[in-house]
């Protein structure tokens, strides 16, 4: 394996001397030394790239047929479903694709949290990731407004009204957002514009995300630094093929939704055209927003709820400093591991509560779950770092790999 790729053909050499594009791609997508012990949880980076590109491509062609006008939007989406050649396929791919994108991103984030991929020297990768997630949330929300069904309309109304919680300027800000005195055509058009723009911003951040990743290289399940050469393999073909294999398995699930249950992840009310005179009984966001929606509702104060919801995402950016344990992988952190699974359970519980009416037991549970969510990061993470006695780390990733059985035996003895 050589670090510097030399193009073979004359044309290749000519171009590469002037613009080293081929070397760049070869260095980062072909030869890049990658730890050889990455498990399948690491394939979600590639899967997410696929999701982003799929959303951009299907979105691009849908935009050729969609009309961003309050009177025409609903009918134009149905026009896509009924008349445009393969329009139904492209729309279902785009709508289901958003859900698949979030499934993948949540797994990707959970993997990072488990294996400590946010720790020194990878803090910036993680922080860029938080921004990508934030943009994804905004993009998905605006996209859900575009079909102009009842959920679109009332979701937009409720979420834009969050800004009215801002002291003094609340009303001015909402009117500015709406370009009107309520949610209407003006808002729909600007949401469409921004929904089209944001994926490209995400794309830009993804490039930074990968660039920042390729400075220290991948973390790995052991969470220890790799020795280049001995512990690494070139990205191509080892991880290209592995990632593509995982991607194809992911696509089977994706296709299962698109072709056999395309509407199961959506809400039936969104097939009712927006009606400003009638609010649906339960306004529920898309499933991937439910945990944050539960946080919003847990706080009995308008401004407080909004701040809590925003903080629930913003707090993630500070994790690299809240968790000061030097050990990255939760494999070697027995105590942290327990709390990690508690957090995962807490997050799923919040998601479940977000879909329930905010009354009685649900409200109490919602508050407890919200409390734990913040305590986990603000209190548990720093404290565990002090209290916990981590398991001994292997000297290199080749060690646990080579003596897997030996380790197993040790672990069995210990428990």
């Amino acid at each position: 394996m050589s670090d510097n790729y030399e193009p073979q053909s004359a044309v290749g050499k000519w171009i590469d001397k002037r613009l080293p594009l081929i070397s760049l791609f070869s260095g980062h997508l072909m030869q890049f030394p990658t730890p050889k012990n990455l498990n399948y949880w690491w394939t979600f980076g590639g899967i997410l790239t696929f999701c982003l590109i799929t959303q951009i491509l299907t979105g691009l062609v849908l935009a050729m047929h969609y009309v961003a006008d309050a009177n025409l939007a609903f009918a134009s989406v149905e026009h896509i479903m009924r008349d445009v050649n393969y329009g139904w396929l492209l729309r279902y791919m785009h709508a289901t694709g958003a859900s698949m994108f979030f499934i993948a991103v949540y797994i990707h984030m959970a993997r990072s949290l488990f294996y400590g991929s946010y720790k020194e020297p990878r803090e910036l990768i993680w922080i860029i990731g938080v921004f990508i997630f934030l943009l994804m949330v905004a993009t998905a929300f605006m996209g859900y407004v575009l079909p102009w069904g009842q959920m679109s309309f009332w979701g937009a109304t409720v979420i834009t009204n969050l800004f009215s919680a801002v002291p003094f300027f609340g009303e001015a800000i909402t009117n500015w957002l709406w370009g009107d005195y309520s949610v209407g055509s003006a808002l729909l058009t600007r949401f469409f514009t921004l929904h089209y723009l944001m994926p490209f911003l995400i794309f830009g951040l993804v490039i930074l995300h990968i660039w920042a990743l390729h400075v220290p290289g991948n973390n790995n399940p052991e969470g220890i630094d790799v020795i280049k050469g001995q512990d690494t393999v070139p990205f191509h073909p080892h991880y290209v093929v592995k990632d593509v294999f995982a991607l194809v398995v992911f696509m089977i699930v994706f296709a299962g939704f698109v072709f056999f249950s395309p509407n199961i992840l959506g809400h039936s009310d969104n097939y009712i055209q927006a009606n400003a005179l009638q609010t649906p009984e339960h306004i529920v966001p898309e499933w991937y927003f439910l945990p944050f929606y539960a946080v919003l509702r847990a706080i009995p104060d308008k401004l407080g709820g909004v701040i809590a919801m925003v903080s629930a995402i913003a707090i993630l950016a500070f994790i690299p400093w809240l968790d000061h344990s030097k050990v990255r992988s939760a494999k070697y952190r027995p105590l942290y591991k327990q709390f990690y699974w508690l957090l995962i359970f807490d997050f799923i519980l919040l998601g479940y509560l977000g879909a329930q009416p905010a009354t009685g037991i649900y409200l109490i549970l919602g508050r407890l779950a919200t409390l734990y969510y913040f305590l986990h990061f603000l209190l548990v993470m720093p404290l565990v770092g002090y209290i916990e006695k981590p398991k001994p780390l292997p000297k290199s990733i080749s060690e646990p790999v080579l003596s897997n059985e030996e380790q197993q035996a040790k672990a069995n003895l210990a428990t």
Binding site: M1, M30, Q31, L57, V61, M64, H65, H79, R82, D83, V84, N85, Y86, G87, L89, L90, V233, P234, H236, P237, H238, V244
Partner: protein
Amino acid sequence: MGTDKNRSSEETKVTRRDFLYLTTGSFTAVGVGAVAWPFIVQMNPDASVKALASTEVDLSPIMPGQSISILWRGKPVFIRRRTPEEITEAQAVKEADLPDPETDEARVQKPEWLVMVGVCTHLGCIPLGNKGEYNGWFCPCHGSHYDTSGRIRKGPAPKNLEVPKYVFLDDNTIKIG
């Protein structure tokens, strides 16, 4: 590539390995190609456009020597009631003199009525009627001259003005499309 070092150790099984890689690679390529199709074909005219009605035109108000333009599939269609002189002139032309040889008889169903798409076959401008060196149509964009049968006679246009599908429903009504 990074696998260079391993190559020698695998040389013995090279055929089986290549077969697997080739199968996987080509199978993937087929899939990628198939996925591209919906993305391309979505730009074709959709079902609602294809279903758009054909246009019926009432010919009774048109006097000999007059013509009208109507819109069909977003393009103008010229319907001209030709005078006997124009008909004679159109029929007298020898095919050999034409850049795009076609008899007048082949271009009309009834000699009195000339029906054609009013789009210049050069670059899509709309020719002007009763103009040009051949008493027919003249395209102002790049100077193409058409005769009284709508055939190209002079200028950059390669073909005669297109005759759309139409039928006479009765003596005074035609249906285009």
